[in-house]
Amino acid sequence: MTGPGYNFAYLDEGTKRMIRRAILKGIAVPGYQVPFSAREMPMPYGWGTGGVQVTAACLLPEDRLKVIDQGADDTTNAVSIRRFFERTAHVATTTSTTAATVIQTRHRIPEHPLREGQILVFQVPIPEPLRFLEPRETETRRMHSLEEYGLMHVKLYEDIARHGTIATSYAYPVRVEGRYVMDPSPIPKFDNPRLSDCAAIQLFGAGREQRIYALPPHTQVVSLDFEDHPFDPGKAPHDCDLCGAVDSYLDEVITDDRGGRMFVCSDTDHCTCRRAAGHSGRLAAPLPAGRA
């Protein structure tokens, strides 16, 4: 038992069975959104209820769980979900990408490449990539069944017509194994190349919309584009001001009211590990003792 009143990992076994069946069907049809009967969780919609249910269905007592929110281990959403599973599943938690066996994420893929045996669980707000183009579920479902994705290309084309370039910068649509168009959740398009041929299992949970989908390891995932406007993952023209990384995804932080700003790695574990290894950026202060 794991404490008074709760089953291991909060959900009852019947619910976990239902979620586990949906995950397996999602693995069998990569990119297809499997409906599931999402439960109310003790947190509001939009705070990762889908990801939490997928994580709960996967967790083993000996797992090491990492939770990130926009790359950071220390923001409210990440801290509260980590504590939730510390309390209900008594699993060990970590902030290290390499030490974690299960990683629940909101809106980022860790900078450090994932390995075989790891599971990455995405929190998804709107799982249907066609939803803002076609509001009717009956129609989007038919579009997926007929592989009718012309509307999505029209949307990207209109971006080019209006802005000269594809302006979609996050939740950038992808095609999975040449079949389903999938919403990669609101990760920056910078992270899109990491979805493809990833060694870890990637699971996507949308609680409010009651959908689960999945990418098995080494699945081919292609960001939609045009021959004359190839996909560009984009990169802020800066280095990290703390660790000096030249190739990581950056957050812009306003530091005063006179236009001062700094750019720091969005992935806090990546940044901390680099600084501990001696790398240093433009504004880096020495690490406090014991942090390394």
Binding site: A9, R17, K25, I27, A28, V29, Y32, C58, R141, A199
Partner: protein, 189 residues
């Protein structure tokens, strides 16, 4: 129902079901991988790995088909007590258990609909042997290629040709299990 039907379940249900599921997830996500699953002791002819799958995934919402020699009183009773799954004909089954020759013709099983390809059957095939050799597998979950001893090639090729429709399969041999989702391309070598 005999007293034996009451035995053979998980000793620690939440933990062992989680462990069983992670095994099922790994083998289905990496076709060709063979893992051992333990914790269940179902009556013959169901093997230990297939028993774990039953305990992890089956309940009263999952119609089950028992094919050939698997359709015996001992196994019916065991599934009734531990899972509560209704027993049905092949056409209505969400899960089917049996030897490959007894599951034939596999065209009977649900392959989902274009709108809902997830509404497809999962076949749990009891194999006399299960080795990482024989048919060549390619597709999602496989780095390069993998090998797996399949009972037949043609049926799985036909199944892949209908993607995203099709049934999904687990191959079991005693406590060993491998996964073969409909997304896998199968070649004879």
């Amino acid at each position: 129902m005999t007293p034996e039907a009451l035995a053979g379940g998980f000793a620690r249900p939440a933990e062992e079901a989680a462990r069983g599921f992670r095994g099922l997830l790994e083998v289905l996500a990496r076709p060709g991988l063979i893992l051992r699953l333990g914790g269940a002791a179902p009556p013959a002819p169901l093997g230990a790995a297939a028993g774990v799958l039953a305990l992890v995934l089956l309940d009263r919402t999952t119609p089950v088909h028992l094919a050939g020699g698997h359709d015996c009183p001992d196994l019916r009773d065991w599934l009734a007590f531990h899972c509560g799954a209704p027993l049905v004909g092949a056409e209505e089954a969400a899960f089917a258990f049996g030897r490959w020759e007894d599951l034939h013709p596999v065209a009977r099983f649900a392959i989902g609909t274009p709108d809902y390809p997830d509404r497809a059957a999962t076949l749990v095939i009891d194999c006399p042997r299960l080795e990482a050799e024989g048919a060549r597998l390619r597709g999602p979950g496989i780095r390069g290629e993998a090998r797996l001893s399949l009972p037949e090639i043609a049926a799985f090729r036909a199944n892949r040709a209908r993607f995203p429709l099709g049934f999904d399969a687990f191959l079991t041999c005693g406590d060993r299990i491998a996964g073969l989702p409909r997304s896998t391309r199968v070649e004879d070598v």
